[in-house]
């Protein structure tokens, strides 16, 4: 089953498939080169970037340069819809975990109440969740009963690979988070709130998203997956897109997926280019190819599922009048901020992936020495404190640096159980004041969000809050967003524009010479 049975007349010109991805060179990975200017390598995309680029090339342009969140967000509806989706997903994993621990299926609704009160979910969201849960339970009773046999199910599995291929020899890097891997029933699940009761196809592009995640996990060596997921051959796994109303089995051999992925990676590479002229031409081509294959996006006939409609065709304001010149000047800032994100965030993703997956063992060792104790802290689990978290012991050689980091600031960590390539990703808070913690002994109590079943796994603490925000690279995105909002911002009324400081400021600064304040004018008024 596919959400893309027929693409229709191809209105988007097919991109020339890449012959090679621009990878960082060893000297970049080892940080032997000063980070400056355009990074000579491509970003390390996540699955959502690829889905966005498949949805529309302009979406990835806005994402890179205007710091906007994914176009795919629109597939879920508004901000409320996104929150609902997150709670829905978290609750299903919580419910399944509690059933494995012995709770009865009949307790599902009371567990929902517990969940909502612990997460401070508002009444409307709780009510929506309850309705959706009822739909879901109606179909899932039987499979939930199997949970009493303690199957091996993992939620929120982070996967990353530098060896993803799409039917050709060209390798691509890609990372993402799998909602659920059910080892016992050999299936990978992508859960979504999108879709309706009477749908006969999975929600738009959700099957492609799941297929990409499957491509990642299938391309990771067994040695890296084994610790968490065991010796599994994921090639044979079933791919299921699960809506509250129906499960859709995804055809893994759909040739369209390979085409979509190759096309999306070409756009990502072209729009992230370090070549200024190529970028201008790529933006030109992205504009002419906007929209999905066979579903062009046109003024007044936009793709409704795209969250970026308002950024391509935003409401125009009359003032400031010099917005065009102002926007041109902002472009170099957008570009510089994007470069910084790649140098900081994407390079680190490459470093972590190369550290585990690259064939050159010397490079692997160098990267481990570079990163351990600075950005990541290996640890082991001492004991689990039920429903709260874990006591972990930090490796001895990294204790002093962790101690320094903790004293420095209020630090949040991401915790990965297993490896960066395939591990369970959780948000963690290090509670050093807890009675279980003894920092001198390297023992720290870690509070974890979300269900865990990870007692025997190794642990990687990654500095920063949310995954891999080792340095505040995400603030650059906020700056990009703010600049773009300022570029779009304005007023319509003459009277207001004449008095508005910002409008006057922009028009003066970017206006023709006669508007500019001159020193001699100032001096004249002084006398």
């Amino acid at each position: 089953m596919t959400s893309l049975p027929y693409l229709g007349r191809q209105l988007r010109q097919r991109r020339v498939p890449l012959t090679r991805w621009r990878w960082p060179r060893p000297e970049h990975l080892r940080e032997e080169v000063y980070r400056r200017g355009h990074p000579p390598f491509n970003p390390f995309p996540n699955v959502k970037d690829v889905v966005d680029a498949a949805l529309c090339p302009l979406a990835i342009f806005h994402k890179f340069y205007h710091g906007l969140r994914g176009a795919g967000r629109g597939l879920r509806g508004d901000e409320e819809g996104i929150q609902l989706g997150q709670h829905y997903h978290q609750f299903i994993s919580y419910l399944k975990t509690e059933i494995v621990r012995g709770k009865r299926i009949e307790d599902a609704e009371s567990l929902l109440s517990n969940y909502c009160s612990s997460q401070r979910v508002d009444v409307d969201t709780e009510s929506s969740l309850r309705t959706l849960l009822r739909y879901w339970l109606r179909r899932k009773r039987e499979s939930l009963e199997q949970l009493y046999e303690r199957p091996r199910i993992f939620f929120e599995v982070h996967v990353a690979s530098i060896n993803v291929t799409f039917g050709r020899e060209v390798r691509f890097p890609l990372h993402g988070v799998i909602d659920e891997i059910d080892i016992t029933n050999r299936r990978i699940i992508e859960r979504t709130l999108r879709g309706r009761e009477d749908d006969t196809e999975p929600p738009f592009l959700k099957d492609f998203q799941l297929w990409l995640l499957w491509k990642i996990i299938s391309s990771i060596g067994n040695g890296l997956v084994r610790e968490v997921l065991g010796c599994e051959n994921f090639e044979d796994y079933e791919l299921i897109v699960e809506t509250p109303y129906r499960d859709f089995l995804v055809d893994k051999n759909n040739p369209l997926f390979n085409e979509l992925a190759e096309d999306a990676f070409s756009w990502i590479s072209d729009l992230a280019t370090s070549n200024n002229s190529r970028l201008a031409i790529a933006i030109n081509e992205a504009w002419q190819n906007r929209g999905f294959h066979g579903r062009p996006c046109r003024y007044g006939e936009e793709i409704k599922e795209c969250a970026m409609i308002n950024n391509c065709y935003y409401r125009r304001r009359r003032y400031p009048e010099r917005r065009s010149a102002f926007g041109s000047d902002l472009r170099r800032l957008y570009y510089a901020l994007f470069n910084e994100q790649i140098w900081r965030h994407d390079l680190m993703l490459y470093q972590l992936a190369y550290m585990e997956q690259h064939q050159d063992t010397t490079l692997q060792r160098d990267l481990r020495e570079l990163l351990m104790g600075r950005s990541i802290f290996p640890a082991s689990i001492v004991r689990s404190i039920r429903n709260e978290g874990f006591i972990v012991r930090i490796d001895e050689q990294f204790r002093p640096s962790l101690l320094e980091v903790i004293q420095d600031e209020v630090v949040n960590f991401d915790i990965i159980f297993g490896s960066f390539s395939a591990g369970l990703r959780r948000r963690a808070q290090l509670d050093i004041d807890n009675t279980y913690s003894n920092i001198r002994e390297g023992q720290v109590f870690v509070r974890i969000e979300g269900p865990t079943n990870v007692e025997d796994l190794s642990v990687l603490l990654i500095r920063g809050s949310l995954l891999l925000r080792e340095e505040p690279w995400f603030l650059k995105r906020l700056v990009q967003q703010s600049l773009f909002n300022l570029e779009k911002w304005g007023v319509d009324r003459d009277e207001r524009a004449r008095k508005h400081v910002t409008v006057r400021f922009i028009d003066t600064l970017f206006g023709s010479g006669q508007f500019r304040a001159r020193v001699d004018d100032y001096e004249f008024h002084q006398h």
């Binding site: 200017g37 190529r278 031409i281 504009w287 002419q288 125009r316 010099r322 065009s324 170099r332």
Partner: protein, 281 residues
Amino acid sequence: MIRSEVILNMLRTLIRDLDFGKDLHDAGWLPLKEEDVRNLQQFSFCEVDYENMRGRINPLSKLPEDLLLTNEGLIFSDYIKSVDVIKEVYRRCEDVKQYHNIIASGLKFMFQKANYVFWEKEGDSVPDEVRSLILSPQWVRASEKFANLLTQSLLTTIIDGTIGEDRLTTTQEENNEILKIFNAIKTQWISIVKYFSEHPELIEFLGLIWFTFKRVEENRVEYLGARIFVFNEVAKMVANKKGIGKDLLHKKLEEMSEDLDKLIEKEQWGVSWSDIFTIPW
């Protein structure tokens, strides 16, 4: 009626057609009902094709203020302003002297807007006098003079010798420090100039596109589609003039940044020329 759905739909159709590169003369036709056709007769800014029962906004007419203030009206007027800029450029390009003036003016604008990034392979490669100037706050003002110097040098060496007669003002007012930088990078500059002498289509395109974008900014064109329309028209103009395909021109432009980087890769320090010879968007 002016803001009626039919009229707004005709405006939207015109925008959609122009967005997809349709010629202005063929763009914007919308099939209409008989009643709508009758109603449209009262508006001078509408055109009706009675034979095919369709109508459109006449792109050459002046829209009423009320309609121009709608979002559709603003985008429409951006397109019309772009078309006017392109017409102006076409008209001025018919005269060789004016064509050269436009290129000179565009290149000057490009150099003024450029980001002068200096690099060095190892520490202390950049001469002290150069370093002290480019790291000083005065560089903001000095870079304007530097831009003038580059424009003049490029034009007198390439364009003046081959296609131009006009000269810019002399460098007598440039201060010594700027000349010191210029002299220090002279060898790489000579390679750059040589590169563009061998690829005149690139320098002509850069001059024209920067001039046109300057006009676009002066005319307050904001809509991305309208700016891309301008880009494509200029590319078409240069490609026709030089007798090469538009795709080939695009390919050469794409290769330009890398070619410029290669020209100076053996130098110990220098200016990032690929950040200077750029295409606006």
